[in-house]
Symmetry: C2
Subunit: 203 residues, 2 copies
């Protein structure tokens, strides 16, 4: 969608957006790149460079109009475009993700789940239907391009293969394995335990 | 702990470790940096450079001895040193994290949880006790340095303050807010919704 921005800058845009949204009050109508940088513990030049990828433009002496900058970030991140996503693996983590309300503010609707356990099929979690994993292929030809994979490590590659065949082009993978996907499928990994191990090493 | 390695390389070490652990069979006694690079979709020079931070050394023509490389990565990442961690926020995500078995392979024991809901205090989740959040200060002086924050965004900063005062020096934060912590406290953020939004932008 936005091919010109480096991934590392793209990853920081939600951080700015979260911060700007967290401010409130009339005295927060304007905000400078220096104030954003100080609040987030980043360099001011980096902040200005990142924000320049969106249409957010600061004004001399005044800084950014906060509401305008929020709108620019939301537009750039596609928050106003509704995107449907599915979740595979309705275990503990999957259930928590289905109940999580945070996706909506990015325009993402995680609307249904798939699980290999037949006893879960036909049930609902957080108001979202759970379907048998065999029905994943029915996504083919639909508008669904995003999937969250929250299955055990041993099952993740097979789920990844099925999702790729079903036309999914973006996979957020929580299983602690490196997935092999076709070149036109983007995989992002969130390995919670590895993150905690890395954090422990940084102390 | 390992201050010489760049964070970006450190983050990749668990990826190598997961991959090497996933291999099996006698024909996998040796593995070359080229084979690792190809499997993970990375550059070979980068792989060699990353692995050189550990004591893993490849042999000409043969490559790395897989078991030795695994041991070197495990030692570097401190997998064999037991570290205790607490979790704050025993909601949906917190419960899933308490039940997750993946921390152990990094030597991390998430052994108890804290929650502000009095009805949860005194209960157990996945065999781990849930205590009132007011008791967090009791961690002061203990060997616990790691905490996972899985509370709602509005409560995260206050929890971060309490954890910092209680002597926690590493916080893995799932709340979609930028936490302000003292300089000697390291915070790593996992914003699941932002990750999915970034992924969507990369398609």
């Amino acid at each position: 969608m936005n091919k010109n921005i480096p991934e590392i800058s793209l990853q920081r845009l939600p951080v700015y957006l979260n911060y700007l949204r967290s401010l409130s009050g009339d005295d927060k109508k304007y905000i400078s790149s220096g104030a954003i940088a100080a609040a987030l513990g980043m360099g001011e030049v980096l902040v200005r460079k990142d924000l320049a990828y969106t249409s957010g433009v600061g004004r001399p002496k005044v800084g950014y109009v906060r509401a305008e900058l929020i709108a620019a970030l939301e537009e750039y991140l596609g928050c106003n475009i509704r995107k449907r996503a599915v979740l595979v693996g309705a275990g503990g983590l999957g259930r928590a993700l289905l109940a999580y309300g945070g996706f909506e503010k990015y325009g993402i609707d995680v609307f249904e789940a798939y699980d290999s356990d037949p006893s879960k099929a036909g049930t609902e979690i957080a108001g979202k239907p759970v379907r048998p994993v065999e029905e994943l292929f029915q996504l083919k030809g639909s508008d669904v391009r995003l999937a969250i994979v929250a299955v055990p490590a041993a099952a993740a590659q097979s789920v990844c293969d099925t999702l790729s065949e079903a036309g999914i082009s973006g996979i957020l993978n929580f299983a602690p394995v490196q997935l092999k996907a076709p070149g036109d499928v983007v995989v992002r990994n969130i390995d919670v335990a590895a993150n905690l191990a890395v954090l422990s090493n940084m102390l």
